[in-house]
């Protein structure tokens, strides 16, 4: 935990009865950061959020926020905001009263309350719909109400559980920019959950990649996208050619295959992975037979059958297309590979 740490989870274990959902998770977040929790469904993202809000008590570990230990502080005293995946708006209250809910509990005087609610609705662009009931709003508008409802409380941390997953594709892009703008304007520390890597890459300052209740990798979008450190992350962000490494050689179904001398492979490296775009086509020490070829807009993708097993490669269009059945040379250059330190 550094001096800059604002929200910190230390060895936090979360369990439903006897089944452990999150296992000794540690995470330090700086004030004003925008963090993405990225991982497949069921990996413990929502559970982690619930622990930060106080809706769930850790079985072990510590959570601190703004210098105070909040591990056992009740949820209604934490000053942590949560935008639920389902929005969880109050059906019997109109937009204004939904947003005012938490402020009314603080017994603010009428004028202050009105100003703050109006400010919140303004920030999310809903000032014209104050009298509508949630049932009369579109999904995107409900989302904004939920966001405003949390923001007006001036939370120390704002958590968003899959904020974009219930929206249609066009709205999702719009809300993405919207979230970024709101975060910039309010300066609030934000943690959002997603299972969509492109969302995490586009929005986050740092990405926490989760799997089965623990952190696989934590880094900037560039780290995660270009330098995945485990097989799971490499696979998740689109590295399609992944090989285990032993004694500086690639392990394949047919035995070990030495790589071309290039950048030497360090002893700690357990695997190497190449994106299809990083496979050199037309020259190199390997060869394969074209089994499949498909047009993907910016590039043409090939599926090769080689001594290394199946290889996915792509070349920008236009270029001389290879035909199915052609035998072509290719290369896997170590300097273009992601180095993986865990393969399971």
């Amino acid at each position: 935990m550094s001096d800059l740490t604002y929200l910190s989870l230390k060895d936090v274990t979360l369990a439903y009865g006897k089944s452990v959902a999150v296992d000794r998770l540690s995470l330090d977040i700086t004030r004003g950061e925008l963090i993405a929790l990225l991982g497949p469904s069921g990996c413990g993202k929502t559970t982690t959020m619930r622990a930060i809000t106080g809706l769930m008590r850790p079985a072990a570990g510590r959570i601190t926020l703004d210098g105070a230990d909040i591990t056992y502080l009740p949820a209604n005293k934490r000053q942590v905001g949560l935008v639920f995946q389902s929005y969880a708006l109050f059906p019997h209250l109109n937009v204004f009263e939904n947003v005012a809910f938490g402020l009314r509990l603080k017994r603010l005087d009428g004028k202050t309350l009105d100003t703050r609610v109006d400010g919140g609705l303004d920030l999310v662009g809903l000032s014209h719909l104050t009298n509508r009931k949630p049932a009369e709003l579109s999904g995107g508008q409900q989302q904004r109400v939920a966001l405003a409802r949390s923001l007006v409380m001036d939370p120390k941390v704002l958590l968003l559980d899959e904020p974009l997953s219930n929206l249609d594709a066009r709205l999702r892009l719009e809300m993405r920019t919207e979230l970024q703008r709101v975060q910039r304007e309010s300066g609030v520390t934000m943690v959002f959950v997603t299972h969509d890597q492109s969302e995490a890459l586009a929005l986050a300052d740092r990405i926490v990649v989760m799997k089965d209740g623990y952190i696989e990798q934590l880094g900037t979008p560039e780290d995660v996208y270009d330098r995945p450190s485990t097989r799971f992350v490499a696979d998740f962000v689109g590295f399609e050619n992944i090989f285990a490494v032993e004694n500086g050689k690639l392990k394949t179904a047919d035995g070990e295959v030495p790589l071309n001398p290039g950048a030497p492979i360090e002893g700690t490296v357990k695997g190497l992975a190449w994106r299809p775009s990083k496979v050199t086509l037309g020259s190199g020490s390997f060869s394969g037979i074209v089994k499949g070829s498909s047009f993907a807009g910016h590039a043409r993708e090939y599926l090769l059958d080689s001594a290394l097993g199946p290889i996915k490669a792509e070349q920008p269009v236009p270029h001389d297309a290879y035909a199915i059945g052609d035998r072509i040379a290719f290369d896997l250059a170590p300097e273009h590979a992601a180095r993986l330190n865990r393969m399971e």
């Binding site: 809000t53 949820a75 905001g81 389902s86 969880a88 109050f90 938490g102 509990l105 949390s150």
Partner: protein, 259 residues
């Protein structure tokens, strides 16, 4: 063609079966004669006015009203928490609870009445009035639990968590976001409980004492002594009252969604 005729015939028969007794009662109530009879002997409203002059009807009406209103309220005070607990927590004995709570619906009223008389009123010397109140509360409880459960089922539980995160206590969240959203269900349960209690005969039959009789029981008593059309007039008035209540409930609450 014959199929269609047949279905119309069936429909007419069913309607006649449902509405027939009601029409006969109304006709008998409007009779100008001195005894309960159908077809009525002449038309008049005198028996309708007579109803309001009969002292015992006024007393038993007050008792029935009291039981229906306060029995239903008591059943709701007990039933709403039960319904809430059953919908929100994975209770280990959930099914057992459901069965126990529904018992008074399933067990014949005669038996409930007899049991209360034999094991509550007689040995413990509980007053008949209190026994009636307990009995009506117990009879309405299953309806209260069922109707309120139905509206809780449609309410997401995460709004309570949202309220807590916004600073509310757990109990506060119940009153601020659960109750307002099941208000219509509670109203529907109230109406159903009210009507059930008001029309209750078999249990109340056992739990009557000197001067303590619910309206339906009092009507039976009255009929055994006096065979004039005022009973028909009262029955017709009560039927209209029930119809009005259910009609309004349907209109404003969508009553049939809950029962």
């Amino acid at each position: 063609m014959t199929g269609r005729l047949l279905s119309y015939a069936t429909l007419t028969l069913v309607l006649a079966f449902l509405l027939g007794p009601f029409l006969i009662i109304v006709a008998a109530a409007l009779s100008a004669g001195e005894t309960l009879a159908f077809p009525p002997q002449g038309l008049s409203l005198k028996w309708v006015f007579k109803v309001f002059e009969i002292e015992s009807f006024r007393k038993s009406f007050a008792l029935s009203m009291f039981l229906a209103v306060f029995g239903t309220l008591a059943a709701l005070v007990l039933g709403v928490p039960v319904a809430y607990a059953a919908s929100r927590y994975k209770l280990p004995f959930r099914e057992t609870l459901r069965t126990i709570v529904s018992a008074p619906i399933i067990v014949p009223g005669i038996i409930v009445g007899l049991a209360l008389l034999r094991y509550l009123v007689i040995p413990l010397d509980v007053g008949v009035g209190l026994a009636l109140f307990i009995a009506h509360t117990a009879l309405i409880l299953p309806y209260a639990v069922r109707v309120v459960s139905a509206s809780l089922e449609n309410l997401r539980s995460d709004i309570e968590e949202a309220a807590v995160i916004l600073g509310s206590s757990r109990a506060g969240a119940f009153f601020r976001v659960v109750l307002p959203n099941i208000r219509n269900g509670i109203l529907a349960a109230f109406i159903l409980g009210f009507v059930t209690s008001f029309n209750q005969v078999p249990v109340s039959l056992f739990l009557s004492g000197p001067g303590v009789r619910t309206l339906p029981i009092d009507m039976i008593w009255y009929m055994e002594i006096t065979y004039d059309p005022s009973v028909a007039a009262l029955a017709a008035l009560l039927a209209f009252l029930s119809i009005a209540i259910v009609f309004l409930a349907e209109r404003f609450l969508g009553f049939s969604r809950y029962v």
